[in-house]
C-alpha cells in the first residue's frame, strides 16, 4: 500500500473529475440541512464527493436507524439464553451441549418491487451471509411475503418472481426452507414485502464477532468482483417508491448462489481453523458500511485503497467502489502472518482474497485510490453521529373510527358456505404452491417441514431439535398496533409451542411506511410496545432484526407489518407434535377461551368485505400458560396433534387439522359437539371469531384424564369437543348442525392458489 497519510490527519482530496459538492448534490444524497451541517462540523471542512457518498450511505435510515433507535432500545434483549444480542450480524442463543443458534431476518422489499426474482434472491443471499459470518452453518430458511391481490397480473408476476427467486437461491446453496407466510392485501400493491430469515448452528466456542482489531492487521476483500450494481441501494431503501426513485433506481443486483455456496464453505473453514480476526458481509452500502462498522466496533481506524479492490468493470471511481452493492462479497480481517493461509483456503474454494487495506490506530476511516486520499473521516463519529429523530406519533382519526365500526354489509353467504370461501382465499389457503418450490429436505434433518404450525429440524449428533416460525397478522396491527404487535409474538410462540418446543427468542423485521408521518410512527411505536411486552411476558428476548421504513408507493402505504421470527428448543426432538389429526377415535379438545370476537377477522374481511372492529385483546399471562401446557403435554407425549387457531378462527383450525398433511392419501373427519361451549358467543363468533390464545389438539382418549389435570394445573380452559373420525367435519351448535365433506374442503384448500397462478406460470417460464 502506498505511503499512508499522517496519522490522525483528516485531509482529503477530490477524486479527479468528480463533481463539486453543492447544496443540490447534498440533497441528491438524501441528506437534509441538519445532517449536512453535522457533517461540516464533524469534518471541519466541506466533504469530498466520495465522503458525501459515504455519509449518505451510513446516515441513511437503513444503516443509521435514525428514526427507530430510541424505540428499538425499549426491547428486552437479555436472558440466560442470550449469547449475542442486537448489534451483530445476527443474534445468538444458547442451546444444550455447547451448541448455539444464530438467526436473523432481513427485508428486501424495494429491490423486489423493481425486480422480483433478483430482489428476492439477493435478499436470501444477504441473510445467509449475516448468519455464516457469525461462524454458524445455515440449517434453515424462512420467508415472510406480502403482495397485492392475485387478481392483478402485476401482483401475480411479483408473487411468482419472488417465490422463484427465494427458491432458486436457497435451493442452490442447500439450505432447507422450513416455513414462512404469505398474505395478500391491497396495501401491498406496488410495494410487496419480502422478508427472509436464516437460522444457523454453531459451537458456542466458535462464535466470531465482526469487530476489526489489532493495529496493522490486514483487510481482505473476499469473493465476487465489485461492479456498478446497486449503488445507493441503502438510500434507495430509505425513500418512498415514486417516479423519482424509479429514475434513480440503482443498477439491479444479480445474485450468484453458486459463489455464495463457495463463500459459505470458505468462511466457515476460515473461522473454524482460526485464521481470521473478523469477517463481515459487504451488504447494504457494501464496502463502506462493512469496513466502517467493523472499525467502529473495534474502536480502531481503517485505511482502504479502493484501487486494490478487484472490479468487474474498468474505470470505476472510489465513490462507486465504496458504494457498490455487488453480491457475494465479504470483508475479512486477518493478522499479516495469516494472509497467505487465508488466500490458500479461499483459492481452494475458487475465490479471490485480495488485501485492500489495514487496521490503523488513529481512529480515522481513510480511503485512498492508488495512494490519493479521497476520504478521511473520524470513524466512530461517522458511524454514531448521525442525528437521531423523535418523530411525532399520532393515531389517524380514520384508524380510530375503523376500530369502533361494525360491518355495514350482510354476509355474502351463510355460515356453512363461509368455510369454503375462506379456505379458497389465498390468505388462508394452503401455501403448498409456494413451499414446494423450496427445497425443504436438503441437509437430511427436517423433522417437520412446511405445512404445519412451525418447522422442526433435528440437530445432528444430538437428541434435540429446533422449531422455527415467522408470523404477523398485519390486519390486526393496522387496526390496533399495540394489540397487533402482541398478537404477532403470541402467534409465533403458539406455533412454536404447538410442536412441543419451548420458545427461546425472536428476531423481528419491522415493515412500515414513512416514519415522518405521525400516523405511521404511531403504528411503529405502538407495535414495538406490544412486541416488547409480549417478549417480556414470554421470556423470549429480541436478539436482533431489521427496520424497513418508507414502504409506500403511489398506490398508498402498506399495512404495518412487524414480522416476528422465532426459534424454540425441542428436547428431545422425537417429541415433536404435528398439526393435523392422525388417528380415528382420538379425542378432539379445544384449549383456551372463546369469546367469539370478530374484530379484524378474516371472516369479516372475506365474507363481509369489512376490515375493522376491535382487535381481540391478547392476554399474555394466559398465552404463557397455554405455551407451558403444550410443552409439558408434549414432554409427556400426551398429544397426537396440536394446531393453533389464528386466521379464520376455530372452524378453519379444525378444518386444517382434518384436511391433513398435503401428502397423506386423504384427510379425516371429526364429530364435534359445541353446544354448551362458549356461552354468549354468537354462532358467527364461535365459528369464525379470532380470539387469541386457542389451540385445537387431538389425543388418545386414554390420555384425556391426564390432559384435563394438566390443563387444570396450568389453569388453561379445556373443552372436550368430540372425536376424530369419518369423512365429514361435523359441528353441532345450538344454532344447528354443520357438515362439511373433508375431501371437498381438501380440494379447495390445496387448489386455491395454483388455480390463480396458472396464467403466471408462463411469466415464470421466462428467465432461468
Amino acid at each position: 500500500m502506498t505511503g499512508s497519510a499522517v496519522a490522525g490527519s483528516t485531509e482529503a482530496f477530490a477524486f479527479p473529475g468528480e463533481r463539486a459538492v453543492t447544496e443540490a448534490v447534498v440533497r441528491e444524497h438524501n441528506l437534509n440541512p441538519l445532517e449536512h451541517q453535522r457533517i461540516l462540523e464533524l469534518l471541519g471542512r466541506t466533504p469530498t464527493l466520495t465522503e458525501l457518498g459515504i455519509f449518505s450511505a451510513l446516515w441513511s435510515e437503513h444503516c443509521s436507524y435514525k428514526h427507530s433507535k430510541p424505540v428499538l432500545q425499549t426491547f428486552p434483549t437479555t436472558g440466560p439464553q442470550v449469547v449475542q444480542g442486537p448489534g451483530e450480524n445476527a443474534g445468538v442463543l444458547r442451546l444444550p451441549d455447547g451448541w448455539a443458534v444464530a438467526f436473523k431476518i432481513e427485508s428486501h422489499n424495494h429491490p423486489s418491487a423493481v425486480e422480483p426474482y433478483q430482489g428476492a434472491a439477493t435478499g436470501v443471499g444477504g441473510i445467509l451471509r449475516d448468519v455464516f459470518t457469525m461462524g454458524a452453518r445455515p440449517v434453515a430458511m424462512l420467508n415472510s411475503l406480502r403482495f397485492g391481490p392475485l387478481d392483478l397480473p402485476r401482483n401475480r408476476y411479483l408473487f411468482a418472481g419472488v417465490v422463484r427467486g427465494v427458491g432458486d437461491y436457497g435451493n442452490c446453496v442447500g439450505v432447507p426452507t422450513l416455513g414462512g407466510e404469505v398474505a395478500f392485501a391491497p396495501g401491498y400493491t406496488g410495494n410487496p414485502l419480502v422478508n427472509a430469515m436464516c437460522v444457523g448452528l454453531l459451537r458456542e466456542s466458535e462464535l466470531i464477532r465482526a469487530a476489526a482489531e489489532g493495529v496493522g492487521n490486514v483487510l481482505l476483500a473476499v469473493g465476487a468482483r465489485t461492479g456498478r450494481d446497486g449503488i445507493h441501494g441503502a438510500s434507495f431503501a430509505s425513500e418512498e417508491l415514486s417516479e423519482k426513485s424509479e429514475a434513480r433506481r440503482p443498477q439491479v443486483q444479480v445474485g450468484d448462489p453458486f459463489t455464495e455456496k463457495l463463500l459459505l464453505e470458505a468462511s466457515l473453514e476460515l473461522i473454524t481453523s482460526d485464521l481470521i480476526v473478523a469477517i463481515q458481509d459487504m451488504g447494504a452500502a457494501g464496502l463502506t458500511s462493512s469496513s466502517a462498522e467493523m472499525a467502529a466496533r473495534g474502536g480502531v481506524g481503517v485505511e482502504i485503497d479502493t484501487g486494490l479492490v478487484p472490479t468487474r468493470e474498468d474505470g470505476m471511481t472510489p465513490y462507486e467502489i465504496l458504494l457498490s452493492e455487488s453480491q457475494e462479497r465479504m470483508l475479512v480481517v486477518a493478522t499479516p502472518d495469516r494472509v497467505d493461509e487465508v488466500q490458500r483456503v479461499c483459492r481452494k474454494w475458487e475465490l479471490a482474497a485480495t488485501p485492500i487495506g489495514r487496521v490503523t490506530d488513529d481512529g480515522i476511516f481513510r480511503v485512498k485510490h492508488h495512494g490519493l486520499t479521497v476520504a478521511a473521516i473520524p470513524g466512530q463519529r461517522l458511524v454514531e453521529d448521525c442525528p437521531i429523530y423523535y418523530p411525532e406519533a399520532r393515531e389517524s382519526e380514520e384508524a380510530r373510527v375503523r376500530r369502533s365500526a361494525i360491518p355495514p354489509l350482510l354476509p355474502k353467504v351463510d355460515l356453512q358456505e363461509a368455510l369454503a370461501l375462506l379456505l379458497d382465499s389465498p390468505n388462508l389457503a394452503s401455501k403448498r404452491w409456494v413451499y414446494e418450490q423450496y427445497d425443504s429436505s436438503v441437509q437430511a434433518s427436517t423433522v417437520l417441514g412446511p405445512g404445519g404450525d412451525a418447522g422442526v429440524l433435528r440437530v445432528p449428533g444430538t437428541e434435540f431439535g429446533l422449531a422455527v416460525t415467522v408470523d404477523c397478522n398485519a390486519r390486526l396491527v393496522a387496526l390496533d398496533p399495540y394489540e397487533g404487535g402482541k398478537a404477532a409474538v403470541a402467534e409465533a410462540a403458539r406455533n412454536i409451542a404447538c410442536t412441543g418446543a419451548r420458545p427461546l427468542g425472536i428476531t423481528d423485521c419491522l415493515n412500515f411506511g414513512n416514519p415522518e408521518r405521525p400516523e405511521v410512527f404511531f403504528q411503529f411505536k405502538e407495535a414495538c410496545r406490544g412486541i416488547a411486552d409480549a417478549c417480556r411476558a414470554f421470556g423470549t428476548p429480541v436478539t436482533g432484526g431489521n427496520v424497513s421504513f418508507y414502504n409506500e408507493s403511489p398506490t398508498g402505504a402498506v399495512d404495518p407489518t412487524p414480522t416476528i421470527g422465532m426459534v424454540g428448543l425441542l428436547a428431545p426432538v422425537d417429541r415433536r407434535v404435528p398439526s393435523q389429526f392422525a388417528a380415528e377415535g382420538d379425542d378432539v379438545l379445544i384449549l383456551g377461551a372463546t369469546r367469539g370476537e370478530l374484530g379484524g377477522s378474516a371472516y369479516w374481511s372475506e365474507i363481509r368485505n369489512f376490515v375493522g372492529g376491535a382487535v381481540p385483546p391478547v392476554d399474555l399471562v394466559a398465552e404463557r400458560r397455554l405455551q407451558d401446557l403444550l410443552v409439558s403435554a408434549a414432554e409427556r407425549r400426551l398429544l397426537r396433534s396440536a394446531h393453533d387457531a389464528s386466521e379464520g378462527g376455530l372452524v378453519v383450525a379444525l378444518a386444517e387439522a382434518a384436511i391433513g398433511n398435503a401428502y397423506a392419501p386423504a384427510g379425516v373427519g371429526a364429530q364435534l359437539d359445541l353446544t354448551g361451549y362458549a356461552a354468549g358467543a354468537s354462532p358467527e363468533g364461535l365459528l369464525y371469531g379470532e380470539d387469541a390464545g386457542r389451540v385445537v389438539i387431538s389425543a388418545d382418549p386414554g390420555h384425556r384424564a391426564a390432559l384435563v389435570e394438566l390443563a387444570r394445573t396450568h389453569s388453561v380452559p379445556l373443552f372436550h369437543a368430540g372425536r376424530v373420525g369419518g369423512r365429514e367435519l361435523e359441528l353441532r351448535l345450538e344454532a344447528g348442525v354443520f357438515r362439511w365433506d373433508v375431501a371437498t374442503l381438501r380440494r379447495i384448500y390445496f387448489e386455491a392458489i395454483p388455480r390463480r397462478m396458472q396464467q403466471a406460470d408462463a411469466e415464470r417460464s421466462i428467465g432461468e
Partner: protein
C-alpha cells in the same frame, strides 16, 4: 469394511447427507475433492445432490469435466459401484456413464416433496434389499429431473431391465404422489448395462430415519453395505 467415496464438487449440497447415510450403515465413507484424481481405494463412489458449478448451462454439464470424473470412469469400468443422486444422476448422464438426459421439469417449477416410487430392478448394488414391485416413498427436490432419451434408448432400457426406479403414474384419485416432473415412462432411476452404475433423481439419503418422516431410503444403503464387488464385472464390460 466397505470404502465409500463421496465426490464433492463446488456446489454439491447433499455431500454431508450422503456421507452420513453411508456411515450410518457401517461403511467407511469419506470425501473426495473434484480436483482429486483417484478415489482412494473406494468400493463405492457416490455423486451427491446439489448444484455443481451452479448447474449453469445444464445441470452437470460442467462438473462432468472435473478431474475426478476420469477416476469415476475408471472405477465404473473396473466394476466398482457408482450411485448418482439427483445432481449426481445428471452428471452421470452428461458424462455418458448413463444414457439419456435430465431436462427442466415439465411444470417449469422446482419441485420439493415426497413422491411414491416403484422398485423395478433389484439387481443393483443399491436396490438388492428391495423386492421388485415394492412401493417406496422418497423426497425429490429438483428443477431439472425430467428424464428423456430417444425412443430406441427407452426401448433398450426397458428390454434390458435397466429401469431401476419408476414414479407411480398420475391417475385421478390415486392415493399416491405421482410423477413430479414429466419423465418419459415415469423413469426416476436407471442403471448401466453392467448394473454397477445407478442414477436416481429422488434422495434416499434424506429418508433413512423415521424421525425424518421417511425411512425407505435406508434400503439403498443397507443394499450397498451388503454388496460385494464382483471381480468379473470388469471383463463383462471390456467385452
Amino acid at each position: 469394511m466397505l470404502n465409500v467415496a463421496v465426490v464433492r464438487f463446488p456446489g454439491s449440497n447433499s455431500d454431508f447427507d450422503a456421507l452420513r447415510a453411508a456411515a450410518a450403515v457401517g461403511a467407511n465413507s469419506y470425501f473426495v475433492w473434484h480436483r482429486d484424481t483417484d478415489l482412494r481405494g473406494a468400493d463405492v463412489a457416490i455423486l451427491p445432490g446439489g448444484f455443481s458449478y451452479g448447474d449453469y448451462l445444464r445441470a452437470g454439464a460442467i462438473a462432468r469435466f472435473s478431474p475426478v470424473m476420469s477416476a469415476v470412469q475408471r472405477h465404473a469400468a473396473e466394476g466398482g459401484a457408482v450411485l448418482g443422486i439427483c445432481n449426481g444422476f445428471q452428471i452421470l448422464c452428461e458424462a455418458h456413464l448413463l444414457p439419456g438426459a435430465l431436462l427442466r421439469n415439465a411444470a417449469l417449477h422446482f419441485v420439493s416433496k415426497p413422491v411414491d416410487l416403484i422398485i423395478e430392478q433389484n439387481q443393483t448394488p443399491f436396490t438388492a434389499a428391495f423386492s421388485v414391485g415394492q412401493h417406496v416413498r422418497l423426497p425429490v427436490a429438483h428443477g431439472e429431473g425430467r428424464f428423456l432419451a430417444s425412443a430406441d434408448t427407452l426401448r433398450m432400457l426397458e428390454a434390458e431391465g435397466r429401469v431401476v426406479l419408476r414414479y407411480v403414474a398420475d391417475s385421478e384419485g390415486s392415493p399416491y404422489q405421482p410423477n413430479p416432473n414429466g419423465s418419459a415412462a415415469h423413469i426416476a432411476g436407471i442403471r448401466n448395462a453392467a448394473g454397477n452404475v445407478v442414477g436416481v433423481m429422488p434422495h434416499p439419503e434424506r429418508a433413512d430415519d423415521p424421525i425424518l418422516g421417511l425411512a425407505d431410503g435406508r434400503g439403498f444403503f443397507t443394499s450397498m453395505a451388503a454388496w460385494k464387488p464382483q471381480p468379473n464385472t470388469a471383463k463383462v464390460l471390456i467385452r
